[in-house]
Amino acid sequence: MADETTIDSANETPETVDLWVAGTEEAEFQPTTEGDQEIGSAESKERLAEQFGSVVEDDYVFDDEVADDDRMIVNMGPQHPSTHGVLRLQIELEGEIIRRTKPIIGYLHTGMEKTAEQLTFGQGPTNVTRMDYLAPLHCELAYSLAVESLLGIEVPERAAAIRILMTELNRISSHLVALATNGMDIGALSMMLYGFRERESILAFFEKTTGLRMNHNYIRPGGVAADLAPGWKDDVSAILADLPGRLDQYDDLLKENPIWLARTRGVGVISQEEAIAFSITGPILRATGVDWDLRKVFPYSGIEKYEFEVITGENGDVYDRYRVRVLEIVESLKIVEQVMNAMPKGDYRVDDRKVTPPPRARIDESMEALIHHFKLFTEGFKVPPGETYVAVESPRGELGCYLVSDGKANPYRMHTRAPSFYNLQSLPITMADSLMADTVATIASMDPVMGDVDR
């Protein structure tokens, strides 16, 4: 008897209940081979053409005479300190020379696009600000502009000017981190200390204005969360007075430093054609000589009113990316100065009580204000159906927000076009046939933020 029951239970196929995908067919499951220490199938001409794009010529001739013993696959990361977060690279080496690279990402994936579908439009900025944690204000700006484009509202002039002021300061602080980490990775440790020191003064201003050093939730649909703090002009003036001198110090330190030049000139080169084929944007694209800047081409928040130059490089190597970032700080300082001197008066958010909450004082006096306040913070505001794509120029490139609404109070779909995600994709061709020792310089000059890559 006992035997029979065991046989019965063995024959019975247990009923599996799939909680996650009830009602959907599984797409064909194709496991990767990343665990097997294998980068991909052997290089064939077709595969190379697919990987590199038709416009790109691959000049590496795969040498069949090299014995298997001479090739080695090395794992870098995900916990390597110089990979700027949790980036993992599989690198196939032939001696000291990198032949193939495969970036493996997803270690910081937190499903923010799924989360955005659960949050209301008003709560959205708290979510997106955590994506690119070095440029949180740009993420908030792209999201807010997308919501406003669906709502069809224009923010007041002062709100737009505050947004430009804050995002340009954010660009400076983000580029300072890029310079600092780039310096540290190549061995210029003093650059790391200086970069973070100058960034601190900007973060202090952010803390005074928004309440937090990072993850601000300051730029919201309809305007900004609060007006600039009293005495903000003194703080910004201090930053403006301080930074140019400091930038000169960096130039003394690095610009003509022979060690720096040897480690960065001609390293990690990417050509214009490659950069465009791989959808690369931002300083990396501009370092190749393409003067493409969304602030000039598709201006947002009235940035066309301010004068600044688009900085381009020539060679597309690590040195040019470093120079582009330094000079972009100078241009951003110009914009900040112009915004500060011409800050319009008026309201810092749109005067539409269906979108922005009423002032605190009104809630005590007006029943309607109280109802508006309550509705906004419980169910949020409804956004008319439609879809839109809005992009801003973040310190890393084109940061776009694709937003679909079906008329409810939370987005039907929110997708972020993350610049680091696309820039990282070019690592295999940027690092091909270069020295292992240059890996770290190349990664650092890409300035990837893993929060932005994985979302």
Binding site: W20, V21, A49, S279, D291, G400, Y422
Partner: protein, 175 residues
């Protein structure tokens, strides 16, 4: 280091708005493609069969960058469940075009744009990972953000949220 060039591509080069000409050129030979506008942004709705052919024509017409590929799950809202959206950008003409196609749930397969724009590679892997859409002709269509052994595709509308078992939740509480 220069500031501003007069290269062929870029904002300071010769430029005049050519959206209508570019779109008119694209519409030739694709009678079943409908062009529309949403909030001033141009959208081309393409049948699935001519997805890659249209993309190829768009690339020839000057859309040299594929900014983004993503998808929307219209479960129980539209007859065709998935909408694939590709964001194309022409640096030469300084215009954007959003190309979309719809596919049903039975056979969610479209042709990959990776042979045209290698930059679409990661984006298509992400869409495969999140929606389970197969891109035919992709060189390495594997999961990119989720773990390899993950069940299901998280951004589908019938994928639940917030019910992943929490580790160590049975541990002693600190009062």
């Amino acid at each position: 280091m220069r500031s501003g060039t007069s290269g062929q591509i870029g904002w300071s080069g010769d430029w005049e708005p050519q959206m209508n000409q570019v779109l008119a050129g694209l519409a030739e030979g694709f009678e079943d493609v409908t062009f529309s506008q949403s909030l001033g942004q141009d959208i081309a709705s393409v049948p699935t069969d001519s997805w890659k052919a249209f993309a190829e024509a768009a690339k020839k017409a000057g859309f040299e960058v594929c900014c983004d590929v993503t998808a929307v799950d219209w479960m129980r809202q539209r007859p065709e469940r998935f909408e694939i959206v590709a964001n194309l950008l022409s640096m030469r003409h300084r215009i954007r075009l959003r190309v979309s196609t719809t596919i049903g749930r039975e056979d969610p397969t479209v042709e990959s744009l990776t042979p045209l724009w290698p930059g679409a590679g990661f984006a298509e892997r992400e869409v495969y990972d999140m929606f389970g859409i197969i891109f035919d002709g992709h060189p390495d269509l594997t999961r990119i953000l989720m773990p390899d052994d993950w069940d299901g595709h998280p951004l589908r509308k019938d994928f639940g949220v917030g019910s992943v078992p929490v580790q160590f939740k049975e541990s002693h509480k600190v009062d």
